[in-house]
Symmetry: C2
Subunit: 577 residues, 2 copies
Amino acid sequence: MDFWRATTLEEQIDTAMGRQEADLVLKGGNVFNVFLKTWEVADVAISGSKIVGIGQYKGRQEIDVKGLYLTPGLMDAHVHFESSMLSPREMVKVLLLNGVTGAITDPHEITNVLGEKGLRFMLDETANIPFSAYLMIPSCVPATDMDTSGARITPEDMEHIRKLSPRILGLAEMMNFPGILGKQQNEMNKMKLFYNQKVDGHAPGLSGKELNAYVAAGITTEHECVTPAEAWEKVRRGMYVFMREGSAAHNLVDLLPLLKKPGNRRLCLCTDDRHADDLIEQGSINYLLEIGVAQGYDPEDLIPMATLNIAECYGLKHVGALAPGYVADIAVFENLQSFQPVHVIKGGVQVVKNRKLLWKSDPVLEPPGQSMNMRPATVEDFRIPAKKNKKLRVIGISQTQLLTSELHLTPTVQNGEAVSDIGRDILKMAVFERHHNTGNIGLGFAFGFGLKKGAIATTVGHDSHNLSVVGTNDEDMAVAVNRLREIGGGLIVVSDGEVRATVPLAIAGLMSDRDAMAVNSQIKQLNFWLKELGVPEEYSTFMILAFTSLPVIPELRLTDRGLVDVVHFEHVDLWCE
Amino acid sequence: MDFWRATTLEEQIDTAMGRQEADLVLKGGNVFNVFLKTWEVADVAISGSKIVGIGQYKGRQEIDVKGLYLTPGLMDAHVHFESSMLSPREMVKVLLLNGVTGAITDPHEITNVLGEKGLRFMLDETANIPFSAYLMIPSCVPATDMDTSGARITPEDMEHIRKLSPRILGLAEMMNFPGILGKQQNEMNKMKLFYNQKVDGHAPGLSGKELNAYVAAGITTEHECVTPAEAWEKVRRGMYVFMREGSAAHNLVDLLPLLKKPGNRRLCLCTDDRHADDLIEQGSINYLLEIGVAQGYDPEDLIPMATLNIAECYGLKHVGALAPGYVADIAVFENLQSFQPVHVIKGGVQVVKNRKLLWKSDPVLEPPGQSMNMRPATVEDFRIPAKKNKKLRVIGISQTQLLTSELHLTPTVQNGEAVSDIGRDILKMAVFERHHNTGNIGLGFAFGFGLKKGAIATTVGHDSHNLSVVGTNDEDMAVAVNRLREIGGGLIVVSDGEVRATVPLAIAGLMSDRDAMAVNSQIKQLNFWLKELGVPEEYSTFMILAFTSLPVIPELRLTDRGLVDVVHFEHVDLWCE
């Protein structure tokens, strides 16, 4: 791949005027005008990294795009790269292949594990690449004080972090909306600090006066809307609403009717969390466009939500349109139903040619180092002595939503110990603190995982990302924990004392340092073995497990410090009357 | 008028939540939602200077606005305050009475007279007032090198000027578009300096590759469009287009059809140049809304052009909408045909109540000092010895446009001198340099002013603002010049050696230090005396005279350094074959 050369303003003017040949011309395509929502057959002339003219131009390099459709490079308004389990650079490769040339990212997960070092890793790995990765500073590190996170980011830390790079645009999703409404000092300090920058929101269902207060505090984006009415109230009150279609959350189709209303300049598209396999097999924001078109919406109305609207929302100049002075980020499509790009130009450089990626990079340049700081597990760690005449507080898993329920069940006891019961689908679960070698181990039981043998474990565990394990027997659970400890984290399936499949996630226990195709194969292998262990194919077992330790979603969760009753926001005992 | 008190974020949240009474509530009006272009019957709750809630609220102070229409305070996207001849503070008073609470101003005229001192005067006089005056740094001081301006602003000067205040948003209208297309070093330096800020445009008729080049250079607004096709091409290429309705330029009705197209979020309203009498008798941006409604357009489509679109164009956060977190700038109208506001709230404070202004201020706080630096004139200064067998180059005035023509006419000679000839309507004209006491006097003749006796003079003379005088006899011309010199500049009518009417413009010879009503009376008196001297009522004599010295509009102009052939851009002799 040729890297772009910097051109002077004088050269750009000469190129625009046709006095000198452009560096690159896309000849004769259907050029989308995002301002007018129209198409224009024209050449796009590029000088260095910038578009300088739309019209008739000659170039030293020319790409024939006659009959093809050119749009601004797509953007994702809100995405956690970590959710893909791909390294930032592998994620970028997949995004470029999908026509996505920029994203507003929130490195919430890695920062909860590694703190500022994690954020800097994301910043450094996305520097000087053919992709515009903007970062929001995670607002909630840790998310709660009910468990043990890897790090803590205070408002004072944020004050210097936000000066690290012009790619840092503000404060990431403020999930602690009760903290805002309740005027918690820490949250107030953050809002004051970012008053003149962008602050993203996360306030599912907030309405009326509470919404007024949340928005008045300076929070002006929202990606958690599930109904048009909710979204519409939020736009009405001044928010940009992002329609989300992630691997788990599917809100796009419900919200698309809003696109027909005059406020549609305040609507954007985002994926939030999207796994490697979905990204590779379905796509990213381009997949959202495909859904929109399939639902009968005009591509001319959909594309601004993935381009200009996002640029306006975040105050990004020179991005999001095909017009003179704009950065030459361009996706070239064969038709307006399947948005798999034929070519992609990023900053004036062709990065995808005939659906092949031209940009080469190792998955990781500078790994952030080891994140597993815990002693090995023994089978003894999993022992739960039975208590007479007491019942177990069991986490009731749902396979269709992240909410859990608190169940009070009679334990199955063997040799004086409460044990997993495959027949009743009540399995032992444990959460090992893995950041500070505290030795914390939370023990409990979960109903509904469907595992018939063996054990599974993961170091992806929102938001503190301790090591969660669930299994049919203590031996396999110990093997799973210890193997993850050895390989630096990941996802694992164990049975009969043997490791059956792993997705090693050497980067903070969250992301792989392998290439995207390898990760995709590992995930397939993992899913194969999950099925072998009796889990129905339609279950999102690892995703469910990753949220079983998040003590902010009702009702009952297991952390490294034991069970949490999220309704009353307090630690509770495993045993009850 | 009570000034607003600063409230804390905590108080704002408590007010939004309804936990404490608001400082001010506008009760039960029809509240315009600029995002959705809809109306909502609701209370608007204000804490300090900010709107914190739309809904049902109680306030320590309440204003009953039932049945009335609330819009965001109107804004003017581009205005030269000097054109009103009112001091900045008097201008603001008139604007507030018209529901205008903010404006993007270009202090082009005063800066051409007083340089940075003039710009600072505009900045200081608009500080700490109930009005948001944003400033763009004049890009063309001087406009040309064909005459003598009061000052020069270099790119180096701009570098420190732009840091003077956060109200300085960028570079004002770049009139020197040939300089941009021709890559003049000075203009290139300015564009590089302001690459990340806003640069306003001024490029009438520019199209195709020239437009590409102009926009690629970083210029992204335009207020000179006269046809929908021109405006549409400019929006297509990424510009914001301002529909203008000034005292002289009337483009609004021609451009309004664009409002029906999808690109209307890129359209704004501006007045550019509007005189005191028009402001007082017709209004400002509110008058443009009236025109739009009278032409059959929906107020819901028109209002965003005077509010949110301008805020987005200039990247102004917290302005341009009625929503939580936005500055409480609100205009309250009785109906949606006549946009003369009943009440106006600026920054949470009622500044207009029942159509009366509550804000009190002297017209000027700190006058910038004397700007007339020239010796007195004598009748000898006006003598033009006749040349045998030669013709005069005469400036042919048009009463309908600013273009002039170059006429070659036989002089009327008395006592060996070329003199004014009332019968042929060929009048002597002179331009006195008034900034640096150079003694420069340009002499010439003009056809078409229609004056039957006496003389008229003005220190408003674009863009260098020297003293221009035209008259039927040398004696009255000398009286006019000397009186303007004594009073510090202004407009004047003289006949029979007597001063008949003046509009003293003590501020840089451009603006009055009197209140708006006094200025309006003086203008009426001036117009009465113009009529007495034989000038038809429909002539815009003083405006025409103010442009007769501007050596950038074809064909022939008179400067302090003599006649300029604007077609060939060179000085020419008064006499020709």
